[in-house]
């Protein structure tokens, strides 16, 4: 079974994002970019399934600027077999990303598609579910544990009250949550090897997908800032404060 993993190039999670002075967005100039952390988990899961002999080939896909090549090379260095970059220098919304992934899935016929549960830049939490809808296939979102059993996949999901387990007929879409696995680091030899793995470059037009945005961003602003308050010297002072607030 072939696995398709979706990886997005995003601001590194250690960087504190700054809103541009003109209110048009977040300043990404000269900011460290990395693979979306949930997508590292997606790649890792595909590799583990390959190591178990369940998955035979891993294709990593990214929709993004030419620089997203670096992100795909990271996926290849971790253990993906080949990569497809769908180049767009303008932002592509989740719905259009999902349509592109769907078109790629129609060509590649993967048994499993793994995406992150959310990208840490736009925090939309949409793409995996949208791909599932467009393909008419089941979805296991916020996965904490997965096991392929014959022609199904059993997914334990992180939900608000705890955990839930569903069984999905393959082909299926899985979106990763934090506890699914701990992604490996690519070793130096694998980083070198990744440079010669195949990476196809495509465009949204190649897949006949219209990426014109449906949402207009009118402005982007800083959230209200919280200022630091006071420090109390000891527990008694804290208790006094809590009493003042009517909490204790």
């Amino acid at each position: 079974m072939k696995a398709l993993v979706c990886v997005k190039r995003v601001i590194d999670y250690n960087v504190k994002p700054r809103v541009k002075a003109d209110g048009t967005g977040v300043d990404l100039a000269n900011v460290k970019m990395s693979m979306n952390p949930f997508d590292e988990i997606a790649v890792e899961e595909a590799i583990r399934l390959k190591e178990k002999g369940v998955v035979t080939e891993i294709v990593a896909v990214s929709v993004g600027p030419a620089k997203a090549q670096e992100t795909l090379r990271t996926a290849l260095a971790m253990g993906a077999d080949r990569a497809i970059l769908v180049v767009s220098e303008t932002e592509v919304e989740p719905l259009a990303v999902a349509k592109i992934i769907k078109a790629i899935a129609d060509e590649e016929q993967p048994g499993l598609i793994i995406t992150g549960k959310q990208a840490i830049d736009d925090d939309a939490n949409q793409v995996g579910q949208m791909v599932a809808a467009l393909l008419g296939r089941p979805q296991g979102t916020f996965a904490n544990e997965v096991a392929v059993e014959g022609d199904s996949i059993v997914v334990k999901r992180e939900i608000d009250g705890g955990l839930e387990t569903v069984k999905l007929a393959l082909p299926a879409i899985v979106t990763t949550d934090l506890r699914l696995n701990e992604p490996r680091y690519a070793s130096l030899p694998n980083i070198m090897k990744a440079k010669s793995k195949p990476l196809a470059s495509k465009t949204p037009e190649d897949y006949g997908v219209d990426i014109a945005p449906r949402l207009k961003t009118l402005k982007v602003t800083e959230p209200p800032v919280r200022s630091a308050g006071i420090k109390v010297p000891d527990v008694d002072a804290l208790v006094a404060k809590l009493k003042e607030m009517g909490v204790a």
Partner: protein, 310 residues
């Protein structure tokens, strides 16, 4: 006026709190019809009919909807949307699972996690872990929106008297089934509606220490219990305790962060709390930059002392 269809989160018997904030948001967009999809969900539909501001309840009662499997409920919602302009769901794990699937079926770009309604098709929403707030306007004919519960007041659970109308089921897609769940039953307030929350971080060492230090303080205060990702990953507490960008978003009256450094991903989940109290031994910990009241020192002496003095 727009017609909105609200996803009611329920357990077939009663309506979950998350629904009430969604009704408030939907009422700012247009007329509110509530959809109760479930199995044996008469009681939930009756409860939804009493929510102030709901003008009609649609009840879809079918075994296929027992566990809100997205494969089964998304086609139902997409079908019903022929008569509505806006689908509104809570940004809970259920809402986040279903809404994008509905959006894709309708060929609509969803607006996730809205903080406010600025116009018929204009909303604010947090991006980059809440470090920026985007104002977005949809150009789609129909809209799909998820709502951040802490950003809207809760509609009154009673006072309404909407009619309940049964609607036909769309059937079972046959591609997914529910096997089981592990839901911890607790007497404690739910995190997303608790007035006070005590959260513990990596500093709590292990599950036993978390239990013996954090829980007595929470018990004294009648508080909900939360945790940082580090504490969840290390297995001190279950996953549903995680507060943050990728966990639960909370905004209690009082949030007490114990042994939590204050990473941006954690702050994203709690910085709208009314009063933030931090206990940390590192006086330069970032959590103190947002805390209203800080106490610097060793939590293993300070927290038991605090619990004792309350």
């Amino acid at each position: 006026m727009s017609k909105t269809l609200v996803w009611v989160e329920h357990d077939n018997a009663s309506v979950k709190d998350a629904t009430l904030a969604v009704v408030t948001a939907a009422a700012q967009i247009g007329e509110v019809t509530a959809l109760v999809a479930g199995s044996g969900c008469d009681a939930a539909a009756a409860a939804a009919a009493q929510i102030a501001g709901v003008s009609k309840v649609l009840k879809a009662d079918d075994a296929a909807y027992a566990h809100a499997l997205a494969e089964n409920v998304a086609p139902l919602v997409a079908g019903l949307m022929a008569d509505y302009d806006v689908f509104v769901a809570p940004a809970t794990t259920t809402g986040k699972n279903i809404a994008p699937r509905v959006a894709a079926l309708l060929d609509v770009m969803q607006v996730s996690d809205i903080l406010s309604v600025e116009g018929p098709k204009t909303f604010t929403r947090p991006i980059y872990a809440g470090n920026a707030i985007a104002t977005v306007e949809s150009t789609d004919a129909k809209l799909v929106v998820t709502v951040r519960g802490t950003a809207f007041a809760k509609a009154d659970a009673t006072g309404g008297s909407a009619a309940v109308e049964a609607v036909g089921a769309a059937g079972d897609a046959g591609t997914s089934s529910f096997l089981g769940s592990e839901i911890a039953k607790s007497e404690r307030p739910e995190l997303t509606s608790a007035k006070i929350i005590v959260s513990g971080g990596r500093a709590l060492k292990d599950a036993e220490t978390f239990q013996s230090v954090i829980i007595p303080l929470a018990d004294k205060l009648g508080a909900g219990v939360g945790a940082s990702r580090a504490a969840v990953d290390a297995g001190y507490v279950p996953n549903d305790y995680q507060v943050g960008q990728t966990g639960k978003i909370v905004a209690p009256e009082v949030y007490i962060a114990v042994g939590i450094s204050g990473a941006i991903q954690h702050l994203a989940g709690m910085k709208d709390s009314k009063t933030i109290i931090a206990i940390n031994k590192d006086e330069d910990a970032p959590i103190f930059q947002v805390a209203d009241i800080g106490l610097v020192g060793d939590l293993f002496t300070l927290v038991p002392e605090l619990t004792g003095k309350l």
